[in-house]
């Protein structure tokens, strides 16, 4: 009985969590304009979604979201990983201070980050657009990368860096051949974290995208909803995004499971 209750509880939680996504997925296979009406099975919304191509405003928003996500994630991963190594090698008070400074942007509400970046760009006279959005995303993603790389550095035997120098590696070679391979799992998860943070950002993007019609998915959907109702094509889009994210997660998990199990074999 106890076991049954425990099982029921976890299923209830899962249903509450996944029901909205499931409903969207189901109703992506019908043509009805209003969500909730079932007018028979159809894949028309899917074909519509792709027939618009990259030239449609929705297509552009998707491309923007992905390219900003990849760019911001790549830059913040590079910055964040190096910063983590730097902070890790600091001593005492300086290290505590920087760690605290790194934590603040994560706790800061998005809206404040967005508004303050907007004011900063205006004050500096920078025309807002694609570049400012990327910069803004880099600024709020980097602390998360630092946070995901830090534990890997702590697990590392600090003497391995010195051992590399000792064996004739320059500091740069030691970083590439000894430190990076050891912290790679943290760097990869930092990249993925940064990417997901970037693609689902709304508030910061809204304040830094400027007035030249640049949109990512969030701001596009927001604008679309304000014009009157959601475009039905968003339903298949959500479903696809969900499946892609799910696939990514599965790949990462399977990879890390395999890594810890099998021993590498030398060829």
């Amino acid at each position: 009985m106890k076991k049954f209750l425990a099982q029921a509880y976890i299923w209830l939680l899962l249903i509450i969590l996944y029901a909205p996504i499931l409903i969207i997925a189901i109703f992506s296979f019908t043509e009805a304009k209003v969500l909730g009406n079932w007018t028979g099975f159809s894949v028309k919304l899917y074909t519509n979604l792709f027939s618009g191509g990259v030239s449609s405003s929705l297509g552009k928003a998707i491309i923007n979201t992905l390219s900003i996500g990849v760019l911001a994630a790549a830059i913040s991963t590079a910055l964040g990983s190096l910063a983590a190594i730097g902070i890790f090698n600091m001593r005492g008070r300086a290290r505590k201070a920087i760690t605290l400074l790194n934590d603040v942007p994560m706790l800061n509400p998005d809206i404040i980050t967005g508004v303050s970046l907007f004011i900063l760009f205006v004050a500096l006279g920078i025309t807002q657009g694609y570049a400012t959005v990327v910069l803004a995303h880099v600024s709020f993603c980097t602390p998360y990368v630092v946070l995901s790389v830090m534990p890997k550095l702590r697990q590392m035997n600090p003497n391995t860096y010195e051992a590399a120098l000792d064996l004739g590696a320059t500091p740069g070679q030691a970083l590439r051949k000894v430190i990076l391979p050891q912290i790679r799992p943290g760097v990869v998860s930092g990249f993925i974290l940064a990417f997901t943070l970037s693609i689902d950002d709304f508030a910061v993007t809204l304040f830094t995208k400027g007035n030249y019609g640049l949109d990512n998915l969030s701001t596009y959907i927001y604008a679309d909803a304000r014009k009157g109702g959601l475009t039905p094509e968003l339903r298949p889009l959500m479903t696809i995004i969900f499946l892609v994210v799910l696939a990514l997660l599965l790949i990462i998990n399977i990879r890390s499971m395999r890594n810890s199990k099998t021993k590498r074999i030398r060829i």
């Binding site: 391995t160 010195e162 051992a163 064996l167």
Partner: protein, 467 residues
């Protein structure tokens, strides 16, 4: 060409300061080509710092390191012809045994076939053939240490630096590895600089032992010299078992301790000078027959140690001595003992009482050791700089640190046959020396009190303050 230098590494006046604390204090050392040198001392003595300075991981605040006569201050670690074996192995976890060892050779762009030959050669040397493909994390501690040694040797360094390489291994494994390291040193003929806190290891392995304490070298010598002729009570206590006793040098070749006079071989101390006397436990001859012996006593404990028995003997004069003998003498046995003149090691005392500098605050109080102390009323004018003397046995130690005038901890202790001689380190890193019968442990926190009548003050003549 390089062979013309007898000395391969020379340390000149090396000092290193961490957070305002001098961890290395003007260290000078000459290391000969092919020598096995061990830096020995308790933790925090500066031995690892010295090794890291030589390797180039840290920079000296003062002094120079010369390699074959040339200053290597500007040479980064990856260009120094030294390799290091680290305490916790520091193998690269993402590489297998082969790639760990080949790491340095690949960086130097040595041809594949040559790398292969050399890796296999060192693997054979450390008895790890057939382990090439193993993941380093699947190896035992001893195997990892072998790989670490192989990795350091494959680059054919001029000097091999070893930082407590056996500290993480169990006793049996450690002893086996000691023999192997010694063999390797003899076979390779290169210089080994070895850091350890284990005196047995140091004596077993080394040509030269360098005993360090508080960033300073205490003694440099062969294992025999260090053991038989320690220069001070710290070295005597740190190396092997010993009886360290207060004595008085009566005149040349005659010394008094434990209430008796003995012939010895030391000269040049002067007459009636207080000294420390060191007698190794195996150098006291013990017999059941008390006639004709130098002194007598009663056995209080007897423990079998495998080869010999370790006994404690209470002499008739009340001193406790540690004695080792192949024969067992049961507790309660009355025994006679004698010591040969050559086995008595006499050392100059570092000090005979506590000396502090202070200032008179009022006719009844002085300031020294950053605290205010009460004294019997004095006529010396207030504000005078004074020198303070306190006898070792007039210092009171309090269990509760706040009960003392200053707080401190037990830093070092020495049993002197009838009392403990304790070094107390205060919060401000100053030392107070105390004779006591109470048993303390190293690291104990305590408070220090001194009765007013036991604080002896004399004014210091300071001409700068005169007018």
């Amino acid at each position: 060409m390089a062979e013309q230098y007898e000395s391969i590494i020379r340390l000149e006046n090396l000092s290193k300061i961490y957070d305002g604390k001098k961890v290395l204090d003007h260290v000078g050392l000459d290391i000969k080509r092919g020598e096995f040198v061990t830096l020995l001392g308790p933790s925090g003595c500066g031995k690892t710092t010295t090794l890291r300075l030589i390797a180039g991981f840290i920079r000296a605040d003062e002094g120079r390191i010369l390699l074959e006569g040339k200053d290597i201050a500007g040479v980064p670690p990856h260009q120094r012809p030294f390799n290091t074996v680290f305490q916790r192995y520091a193998l690269f976890p993402h590489l297998d045994v082969y790639d760990n060892i080949a790491f340095g050779l690949k960086l130097k762009k040595i041809p594949e076939a040559e790398i292969d030959k050399r890796v296999r050669r060192v693997l054979k040397m450390v008895a790890m053939t057939d382990y090439e493909d193993r993941d380093v994390e699947s190896l035992s501690g001893g195997q990892q240490q072998r790989v670490a040694i192989a990795r350091a040797l494959v680059g054919e360094p001029k000097v091999l630096l070893l930082d407590e390489p056996l500290a993480a291994l169990d006793r049996k494994m450690r002893e086996d590895m000691q023999l192997e390291i010694k063999e390797m040193h003899q076979k390779l003929g290169i210089t080994f600089i070895y850091v350890t806190h284990d005196q047995e290891e140091a004596l077993t392995l080394s040509d030269t032992v360098v005993v360090m304490r508080d960033g300073k070298i205490q003694q440099i010598g062969s294992p025999r010299d260090i053991y038989n002729e320690p220069v001070n009570s710290f070295v005597a206590d740190f190396i092997g078992d010993s009886n360290i006793l207060n004595g008085t040098m009566i005149r040349d070749k005659r010394v008094a301790f434990i209430g008796h006079e003995f012939d010895c071989v030391d000269i040049g101390f002067g007459e009636n000078v207080p000294v420390d006397v060191v007698i190794r436990p195996e150098d006291i001859y013990i017999k059941k027959d008390t006639t004709g012996e130098q002194f007598t006593g009663t056995v209080t404990s007897c423990i079998f140690k495998g080869i010999h028995y370790n006994m404690l003997v209470q002499t008739d004069e009340g001193y406790e001595l540690e004695i080792q003998d192949y024969n067992a003498f049961e507790p309660g046995t009355v025994v006679g003992m004698h010591i040969h003149a050559g086995d008595i090691q006499v050392m100059k005392k570092d000090r005979v009482c506590n000396n502090f500098e202070g200032e008179l605050l009022s006719p009844t109080s002085v300031r020294f050791l950053d605290a205010e102390w009460e004294i019997p009323e004095t006529q010396i004018p207030v504000g005078t700089k004074i020198s303070v003397q306190v006898a070792f046995n007039k210092v009171n130690l309090q269990d509760n640190p706040v009960d003392g005038t200053v707080e401190g901890e037990i830093y070092f202790m020495l049993y002197k046959g009838d009392r403990y001689h304790i070094t107390v380190r205060t919060k401000n890193d100053e030392y107070i020396y105390v004779d006591t019968n109470d048993i303390w442990d190293k690291g104990d926190q305590l408070g220090v009190k001194i009765a007013p009548r036991n604080i002896k003050i004399t004014p210091i003549k300071d001409y700068k303050d005169d007018d």
